[in-house]
Amino acid sequence: MPTTTTPTSSHAARTFWAALAVGSAIDLAAGWLLRQPGYSPNARILFALLPIPLNLVLVALIVRRIRQLDEFLRHVHLEAVAIAFLLTGVAVFVYSYLQQAHVVHPLNFGIVWIFMLVFYGIGYVIAARHYR
């Protein structure tokens, strides 16, 4: 029988990782540019919007990849997304209460994204172990 890794899937993986690397570089560059003084307000708006196109490409690649998964892996990822969504909600609520108690600084939106990534990883491990 043929092997499990097809040229198409490895090409898709390479495309995804390349887009992720370039997208991350653009995100970091935009953040760096916004911290520099001397740029006009219009230039700053342009820097802030700079990451959008490639991030949309990443979203499209991820959605395409999800559609290529088999029904079982889609099931596992759905549980991971649900766990990440709920745990992020809990974390944001707790953080907002801590903020009202003046224990923590105002919430940075970037932290929410990190919460989601970490909780997605946790959710994936939980779901994968459940069906093992």
Binding site: P2, T4, D70, E71, F72, V76, Y131, R132
Partner: protein, 70 residues
């Protein structure tokens, strides 16, 4: 739902990866189905059965007593 997937696969001397490749799913899916942790949807159940040249009822056995005839 019970499955005879592991027995049938052993008879054919196929690995989980080979069966997964034959029906177009991941090896994790085959592991979960064999362990009774995941019930496949009908299209995958038919593909699995046909990979062994069997009917779906010969591979998967429904065990809900409430639906059995009295």
């Amino acid at each position: 739902m019970k499955t005879r997937l592991r027995v049938l696969r052993a008879e054919k001397e196929w690995t989980q990866a080979q069966l997964a490749e034959a029906v177009g799913v991941s090896r994790q899916a085959i592991i979960a189905i064999e362990n009774g942790k995941y019930d496949p949807a009908l299209p995958l159940a038919f593909r699995l059965a046909r990979a062994f040249g069997k009917n779906v009822e010969e591979v998967f056995v429904w065990e809900d007593d409430s639906l059995q005839e009295k």
